[in-house]
Symmetry: C2
Subunit: 492 residues, 2 copies
């Protein structure tokens, strides 16, 4: 792609006035972005000394500082490396109507990592996919991502380095790494070219600008920004027809909820204390081991209201070292959460290596309550299976052990528990009008859950259905499942 | 205080049953906490091997994991050190109705820092004050802080270290630092004692428990927790009568708003471009210098609606390197923000050394809109002057340059600008019904602002009143003020 960089071949056109008018347009477009709730990400990548810094400065001069943030991407710290690759980039996605300008970006984890950190070919391929998925998920959600690669020739780069070094106030900017990269320009050229080709997608194209001529570069830059943002503010949200996930991901068969036998799944109360103690002892031991081996764990709970999620979580929590796990209750999203991609709030809470996060309700709200209560357009919800399968693949690929529970009770058992809660003053707070309303939609929910289980029970993140009419049985099954999964992970 | 540690002097009482009943009480108290929206912080400090870890485990066994978080406090990282001392602790205060359990805490920045990091006596004194202020501010806001110091004798500690080292699975827990501290037990004893005495306040007492006898320790622990939480859930919020801040802090005199002459404060439009350019050039240079000298800067904007905050911020922003500053627009707090102390959201946004944060509206909302619109009880608002003066003293003490602007226009000028906004389609979004409603309360606001200026214009964080009837004049004055303050800071 680099050979096709847009450049000015000595056309001697004076771009100044055109650029000025484009700049003023950009300034006005901010208001449109705000009005249309359009989030924009501008990615600056390119050669050292290709002019990223001054172009970013040119852009923000036209913008209200309250509408944008600039992020400089440095190599990931030790702590960053303890999380899934894309977490730190997910965290900084802009809110609707705002702009994030990336001075270098997630692309540092691709080309540079391949040449300088010696990541394997497989890892490089995976990262290419992670980045493409990231950009597609955001684009599908209405984000506009503008990717710019600033290109200069080896000679031009060398000339600029020399100039920078001649001036006392700028010479610190030319590092040994820069010199090394200039020396190996051809290698980097090939690598950048490969990266650009493989991440130039239909939903997120690269624009490569030859920045040798400053005037022309600025004109190109503002031209791209204005035309792409104008397009985006004038287009209506469109939801691509979702692909069939069951053919895209390796699936594991799950039964229909109606096929799950609940009757015989009971545990004698007399046996419970001993079983509980045994499980908790084993879990405590395993927690120590995964901490030492730095394995991150996510335990996700879904299930009918009153199915016993809280009780199961409590028993798990009591077994783990409190300094190494966090329980995250997930409620209806607040405004600042609604202002971003719906997976954002879950990415933020992912555990670092050696730690455990327990989600009490999860990202699956998208295909249950959000879908059935009409909180999100149905066509948008329909895209969620793919997004979720991809999200979970990202986690498990990065080493996360992901354990998902569906706590299953039948309608009669739920009624019994609702009534108990109503009668018990200490438990009344647990039952709300919403619970009764949801109950009326039992059949609709059951259909939705069946579809969800079918489409999101992948080999790497299978669902475990927990027969929960008997609470004691359910708790022990949850614990034993966690034990099995952790032991399996430790064997590898 | 250590000599008075509560201990069991061989009383041979069997505490088991009593402890069990207390534990069950604690479990029930969680619901009360939730109902009453009580936030609780439990601080565990004490000697190495005094049993913090297992006592914390005992507590959380009784709790629902969705109601608490455990934080292990490690020595501050390089990054932590680039922020005001208490920032990382402010960030983790619990939401209302939730509990934070601190496995070591901000007290690590006192005793241990004094003995092992060689902080000066003055710094130690300041930190004592920072901690006392932090705890008082939270307590005043309805937080319950329970501080426990676990005490053992030198011999007992040594005995426990030996036992830990005998077991292969626990010997890693005894570090060289532990051994060194045991060797210098007497020095640490004196230091801990001093720290405990000086932070044992009427609003936040220490409880020192001799943990030699495990049964007795657990009884004491649960006894303290249950009695303190029971008290707290049963008491109504009370607002201490605020002290007179003008006698507590070194004040700088500010004029009444009515005494600020606006007429002659104008700048010829023909002179503006040149002035602007000069200021921005100087600001860019200074930003580079404060970045290198690692000076953090906070610029706070308040003023009448339509007084020109946005325009001034935009011109400042255009001068700074975007990678080194952030503009933070402050709107009405969202639910997750209301669920915590009102200063929490500002602490989170403080700049690290070398960086600049510009607040578009600030913590002063407390004594303006929150007070006048009755969003917060008046008695609670009245406490804000002291809290704000303390907050700003914390910042400036830690090296922050704090620059506060009040953008002043008169009532006629505001009307003119409101009408202009109504007529200009590109600016209509800037004007809301609320702006008109606030305008009707001009006199009330003026009184509130005068009081605010009087009570919060301290020597270390003075207000600058910017005569803003003429926008060009105002912008240049803002920039020149920032220039002066930064140059002054760089001289030191």
């Amino acid at each position: 792609m680099l050979e096709k960089a847009i450049s000015d071949n000595g056309s001697r056109i004076d771009y100044k006035d055109m650029t000025k008018s484009l700049q003023q347009n950009l300034s006005k477009l901010q208001l449109k972005m705000k009005e249309k709730n359009l989030p924009v990400i501008i990615v600056f990548e390119g050669w050292g000394a290709s002019g990223k810094g001054s172009l970013i400065a040119d852009i923000i001069k036209m913008l209200d500082p309250r509408f944008f943030n600039v992020y400089s991407t440095l190599p990931g710290t030790e702590t960053d490396r303890r999380y899934p690759l894309m977490k730190r980039f997910w965290e900084n996605i802009p809110a609707k109507g705002k702009m994030a300008i990336m001075d270098r970006s997630w692309y540092q984890e691709l080309a540079i990592a391949r040449l300088e950190e010696g990541i394997s070919e497989e890892e490089y391929d995976r990262r290419i996919e992670s980045v493409n998925v990231f950009e597609r998920q955001l684009t599908d959600d209405g984000y506009l991502i503008i990717k710019l690669f600033l290109h200069i020739s080896r000679q031009e780069q060398k000339r600029r380095f020399i100039k920078l070094r001649e001036d006392n106030s700028t010479k610190w900017r030319v590092t040994d790494t820069d010199k090394m990269r200039n020396k190996n320009y051809d290698t980097y050229y090939k690598q950048f070219d490969d990266m650009l080709k493989r991440t130039d997608t239909e939903y997120c194209h690269w624009r490569v600008i030859d920045t040798t001529d400053k005037q022309f570069t600025r004109f190109q830059l503002f031209n791209i920004l204005v035309s792409q943002i104008t397009n985006a503010v004038n287009s209506e949200p469109h939801y691509p027809i979702p692909a069939d996930v069951t053919t895209m991901f390796p699936m594991q068969k799950t039964p229909l909820l109606s096929e799950v036998p609940l009757e015989n799944k009971v545990l004698k109360p007399s046996k419970y204390p001993e079983e509980l103690k045994k499980c908790q002892k084993q879990l405590a031991k395993l927690h120590g081991k995964i901490y030492k081996k730095k394995i991150p764990v996510v335990i996700a709970f879904e299930g009918w209201d009153a199915a016993g999620k809280g009780g199961a979580i409590k028993r798990l929590g009591a077994a783990f070292d409190p300094r190494g796990y966090e329980a995250v209750p997930v409620a209806a999203p607040e405004k600042y959460e609604l202002n971003r991609h719906y997976l954002w709030r879950f990415w933020r809470k992912l555990p670092k290596t050696g730690h455990i996060t327990i989600f009490d309700r999860t990202w699956y709200g998208r295909v249950m309550v959000e879908k059935l209560e009409g909180l999100t357009p149905e066509a948008r919800c329909a895209m969620a299976y793919r997004e979720i399968d991809e999200f979970e693949r990202e986690l498990t690929r990065s080493g996360v052990i992901l354990i998902k529970f569906w706590m299953q009770i039948d309608k009669d058992e739920q009624l019994k528990r609702f009534n108990e809660r109503m009668e018990n003053p200490e438990k009344q707070w647990k039952i709300t009008d919403e619970d009764w309303r949801n109950r009326e939609k039992w059949d609709l929910y059951e259909t939705a859950v069946n579809e969800m289980l079918e489409k999101t029970s992948t080999v790497y993140a299978p669902w475990t259905i927990v027969e929960s009419n008997d609470k004691l049985y359910a708790r022990i099954k949850v614990m034993n499942t966690v034990i099995d999964r952790l032991e399996e992970a430790l064997k590898k």
